[in-house]
Structure formats: structure tokens, C-alpha cells
Symmetry: C2
Subunit: 188 residues, 2 copies
């Protein structure tokens, strides 16, 4: 049971974003900019960063939700599964292996990011802004994972919930749903 | 040396908030709402949460900056020093001891927050929104600390830098400085 009163039909982050809407707005905006805004990283690649960090923080809600979003965006379900298991052997570009390695270091802590991992990413063609965004996305999911689990929100066990949420994240991104989309609310 | 090109005269978070201004805006807005918006926790108490988390993440820039802000807001420099050393023996209210304990658990990870620590906080009079905000502030500083150290930003050693930054955080909060305040920019 959550530590604070959240709506029963809104599990994980979804209930928290309704609990305090004024703080939810900039959280949504930051996420939309980083995961759906203009970038040389694809939306699928950015969802993989979210997935790797959430997985390493053992946040089941966020891991399952962003795995679902990545799977839908990538059109297959083997890549997200592989990066959670082992980044370096996963079927992603050499640049993405290096960026995901940086993200995994950010999950441990800011000081865990090494000059070597940055040099490796640059050697594989990563730009400064890609490195910046990787660090900030990883840091943002360290916020999300703590917010979701630190207040003991509900983690649905039904896979269809996450399929619906992943589809919503692909179709509508992270912005608040406009009026008339209330039927989608239960999916985040 | 920072891992990405940041302006030399903008150390720590200040250079990052100039590097990508579109993402900086919601980060600033979220921080302003949580640390300076209406709350039953004082601004000084909320800066103590930021200080404890930053200290435990070993982020020297953020710890020194928010210690300076807390000291100025509280009008003395013993409380922030004490909460960094030992929360339970620090000269803060029983409620704040319990909320700072929750913040320290969030720093470890979302799942580290225990039902007991929540029950203790509620027994000392903490409200649901105070618990919510404590968790979200702690999670936000887990983002900040990783952003600042994950990109190897510069940490000034001159104490007067942090005095200036702390005063700015008291007088102007976390919003972007309006036009005409450029002389304050070097202090964050």
C-alpha cells in the first residue's frame, strides 16, 4: 500500500503525477524534452537509457513501462531485454553501448562516471550533447525510480497494463493528456 | 575539467543550466516549487533536506551551496553542520529528524524507505504532503548530484563563492535571473 493516499486506479508514477499536479508539470515537461524532443538519438534509444537505469535501480514499475515503450518504438522485444542483461553484448550500435555504459555509471553515482567511459563514447562518435542528454536522462530516472518506490506505489502485475502504458508513451509522449483522453488515464 | 564544454566562469550546476536552457527551465521550476513554494516546511528545513542528500551523495558543489543557503535562511551555521554529521542528534524538531531520515533512505534508493520510517514521521506529526515533498526533494537532489558530478563540473574551493550563491538562493530562489541581474550570474 502506498505511504500516502493515491488513487487506486493510478499505479506507479501515474498516481504521483495526479497527487501534486504543480510539481508534475515540470517533471513531465523535462521528460518530454529529453525523451521526445529533437535529438540525434532515436526515441527508442532514449527509452533504452531509461530502461537500463530503472532496471539497475530495481524499480519494477519503471523498468516494465519503459521496456514496453522501447519495444514498441523499436518494433521488437529483444534489444531492451538484452541491454538489461549485458550492455556490451546487446544488439545496439557501438556508440549506444558506450552511452548506456555512462548511464549505468550515473545510476551508481555522479562520481562513478569515468574519463575513460567519456573518451570511449566520443571515440565511437558520441557528441557532447548526446553525452549531456545521456547523463541527464539517467539522472532523471534516478529521480523517478526513487519517487515511485520511495512512496511505495502500486506495481501492477498484469502485462497488458504496461502494453497500454507503453503504447500511450509512444503515441502521446510524456505530456499531460488533453481533455477528452480521460479513458487513457488509467494507463498513465 | 568538465566532460563537455561549459563556460569557465559558471561552475557546478550553473554551467549546466546555461548549456541546455530548455531542459534547465523545468528543472528550475520544479526546484522553485519544492524549495520555495508554499509549504508547512520552512525554506531552511527544505534546504536541510537538499544538504543531507547532497552530502550523502558526496557532491561537494551541491553540499556546500545548500549548506550556505540553509545557514543564511536559518541565521546560524550549526544546524546544517549537525544534520550532515548525525541526523538524530541534530538540533531540529522530532518531525524533521524523521523526515531527514526518510530523505537519507531515498538517497540510498527508493526501496530503502521503510514503513517504519514513514510511521515514525507520521507519529511526529508529518503530513502526507510533507512526506511526499521530502521524498521528491530527496529524489530531485539525487538527479542534481548526478548531473553535476556525472559531467565533472568544476567545484570552486573559495568559500566566498558559496556565500554569494547561498545569498542568491535566499534572495532570488531557483528561477532564472531576470534581465539586469547578469552581475549575479557568476554566483549561479
Amino acid at each position: 500500500m502506498p505511504y500516502i493516499p493515491l488513487e487506486d486506479h493510478l499505479p506507479g508514477i501515474t498516481g504521483l503525477l495526479e497527487y501534486r499536479k504543480d510539481t508534475a508539470d515540470p517533471i513531465r515537461e523535462l521528460t518530454q524534452l529529453l525523451l521526445r524532443g529533437p535529438s540525434t538519438l532515436t526515441e527508442g534509444e532514449r527509452e533504452l537509457i531509461a530502461t537500463v537505469v530503472s532496471h539497475r535501480n530495481e524499480c519494477k514499475f519503471c523498468t516494465t513501462a519503459h521496456t514496453a515503450a522501447a519495444d514498441i518504438l523499436l518494433g521488437e522485444d529483444s534489444t531492451a531485454a538484452a541491454v538489461k542483461k549485458d550492455i556490451l553484448s546487446a544488439p545496439v550500435s557501438s556508440k549506444m553501448k558506450m552511452l548506456l555504459t555512462i548511464a549505468a555509471q550515473v545510476q551508481e553515482g555522479g562520481k562513478a562516471v569515468t574519463p575513460e567511459s567519456i573518451a570511449n563514447a566520443k571515440a565511437e562518435g558520441a557528441t557532447d550533447i548526446e553525452i549531456h542528454d545521456t547523463v541527464l536522462i539517467a539522472a532523471l530516472f534516478c529521480l523517478y525510480n526513487r519517487y515511485v518506490d520511495g512512496l511505495a506505489t502500486i506495481t501492477p502485475t498484469d502485462p497488458t497494463f504496461y502494453q497500454g502504458l507503453g503504447k500511450r508513451l509512444k503515441d502521446h509522449g510524456y505530456n499531460r493528456l488533453p481533455q477528452g483522453y480521460d479513458h487513457l488515464k488509467k494507463n498513465g
